[in-house]
């Protein structure tokens, strides 16, 4: 952990375990981002041109 970083290091986790936890968190973030993008593209594909058809 960097000097001056006062975040909770977790329940007795070793530096290696902290590194793995961070990698897991990044992987979860990437997976959620990919899913959000997928659902967005699917929505556009399902709605087609109708997505632009809205009353002004």
């Amino acid at each position: 952990m960097m000097a001056g970083d006062d975040r909770d290091p977790g329940p007795g986790l070793s530096p290696e375990e902290l590194k793995r936890r961070r990698a897991r968190s990044v992987a979860i973030a990437l997976a959620l981002g990919a899913l959000a993008l997928l659902f967005y593209v699917v929505t556009i594909a399902k709605m087609g041109p109708q997505v632009l058809n809205r009353p002004l």
Partner: protein
Amino acid sequence: MSPAPAEGLVPASARTSTGDVSDYIALLKPRVMSLVVFTALVGMVVGEAQVHPVIAFASLVMIAIGAGASGCLNMWWDADIDALMTRTRKRPIPDGRIAPEEALSFGLTLAVGSVLALGLIANWLAAGLLGFTIFFYAVIYSMWLKRSTAQNIVIGGAAGAFPPMIGEAAVSGSIGLETLILFLIIFLWTPPHFWALALVKSSDYARAGIPMMPNVAGPDSTRRQILLYTIALLPCGLAPLAFGFGGVAYLVVAGLSSAAMLALAIKVHVRRAGEPSSRAAQQLFAFSVLYLFLLFATLLAEHGFGLMRPLGWT
């Protein structure tokens, strides 16, 4: 009494999982996932349904996640016997890298999420089939059949045979004769494939108390049944030709690979002792993977890449 934890550390039993990302990917059984995605893709293209490529791709992603969920739930349930077998003792749960409760939560979340998402993206027939497949693999096969009958992989093989149907249902909203035949091919392929492995790994299965066919009926009976299932498989493997969705390339590939599959099954039946018998079983196990891949890859090439050259008689 276990030693006291070092200052600042909590006992290992109270900790969360310490596995890395690759351990969570391993829980999803990526090799099985890739086979499921591949066969589901072939199911999508043989039906010749017209669907937006984004919908087809997203459906495949959900089918893959559903397959991963069933693999994860299987590993959660089987952690005790996985710890006893050399082939599986290094899996994340028996090796202590992932807590069982986390694997269960992970598997259930992916299962429910993938089924709901497939229903919303494609249709509820495909979602229902995916949900049933996960249930069949995790509950019917893993929790019930695997430890109770030597027919475990015969009946449980249905779980691995559903993906082409799910794929077709996702893009067309229905199930046709083509994917029923693909179901039969995978269903009849499963016993020779797994029993060839079980012949080699019978001591592993015996240690874990799993009633695989070689441990229950004996190696010779298993060899006979491998040959019988292979003989039953071959006409199904050639059925796409009779029903008009296999072309000239399929005739060549299926003909040659079926002959090789039969030759290897006969070899397993004839060689019954010592190193030659193990080698024959390993060869059949390895080739059976190639056999299924070749059949499905040829159908994919013919239907997905426009290489279909119809046979004269259909």
